[in-house]
Symmetry: C2
Subunit: 246 residues, 2 copies
Amino acid sequence: MHVTSEQRLDDGILERAFTLGEIPGILWTPETASASAPAPLILLGHPPLGLRTMHPRLVDRARHAAAEGFATATIELPGSGDRPRWPAAEQARADLRRVMAAGEPVGDEIIDALVLPLVERAVPEWRAALDALLELPEIGGPVGYSGGVISIGIRLAVVEPRIAAAGLFAGSLVPRALFAEARQVTVPVHVLLQWDDEGNDRQAALDLFDALGSEEKTLHASMGGHTGVPPFAGDAAIRFFSRHLR
Amino acid sequence: MHVTSEQRLDDGILERAFTLGEIPGILWTPETASASAPAPLILLGHPPLGLRTMHPRLVDRARHAAAEGFATATIELPGSGDRPRWPAAEQARADLRRVMAAGEPVGDEIIDALVLPLVERAVPEWRAALDALLELPEIGGPVGYSGGVISIGIRLAVVEPRIAAAGLFAGSLVPRALFAEARQVTVPVHVLLQWDDEGNDRQAALDLFDALGSEEKTLHASMGGHTGVPPFAGDAAIRFFSRHLR
């Protein structure tokens, strides 16, 4: 992990841009974090729109988490931002745009082609990022994963034992194979659902919530579209992490 | 309103039993409530099992609310506790027990016969209780309604302008007529759903949530059965009232 730049935000949060091999990432630590009082870490998932585009929303989430004493970090997804595309993903994105423009239902083949390779590639990268981040003296476990592509969150919660709690954002482009994996999730899960999410099949989201194997799982549905998560729903997600990462 | 007994609970809450005409009720006020700093009021709804049976759970909810500065009050439902039964309701209850024991689906006629007269009778009583309670100098508005028979909560939220926020407990014995009323609800609504509620049709609960007309509505689903609402879900309901009754 190589820090490429750092700046202190106005509320005392240290924002560090880093690279992990070829992968860019960002780490935010509250000023309270130190080697003697390491901050628990929340990995910030995000949609595959590129870190530059997502930066303002990620900083908001990082500030919110830092106010409760959490460090947060994120990395660029494979095929997003400045990272190389691969032909099959480009084809799947083009297919998705085409059927959505035509108002047709999005078939399983497109979802699988779009999401499964992303999950396959991303999850080992997030685990490698976790290895590197947890070596920093001011960062401690246990670790949470929050938001982003729900299929990545589910796979990560299943395969990565350091993930102690997962806050997931209900999205409907979930490969059928991931429903079986959802049953294997055992850590506490907190799912946000935007009831009128234009890009979301509500029933699919409820089915996925039902499938999650965790003994403690909560679903918080709020009104509004995909990016309209109300502030109190964000507050509740942070309280979920406070309950489980302390 | 006639106070029949009062006692101070160990945490300084004043519990007053009262009667309003023939109707017994209970009022809990936090010690911080005074004429110069009146406490906002939350009406505590409850299932038709009688106030005596419900008392321990009601006191828990009253304590929880008092810790956040809220006064709470409840009244006996028509046909519950020591209040007179009426034949049609007794018949409907017997019919319900019979079809549930037989594992048959509960038909609309039974639901209508059971719930509609209860709503018709109860709602004017809760409004009369509100008149009386708001005359006390230590009680102020705005007023919230919390839990209990969801059809009563919906009707009250529609017809009673002093109700500024409603916390509802998703139950499935909802007459079809109430779905139309739900669309007329405009106050902020917070709905608790127990995902594996043995007495609850989950899909009906989700449909009713969808029907609610409020611009701000949130659904909090948690694992467990009817009486298994986790403490953090209760905390979230109180925070909902704190956002809207202050």
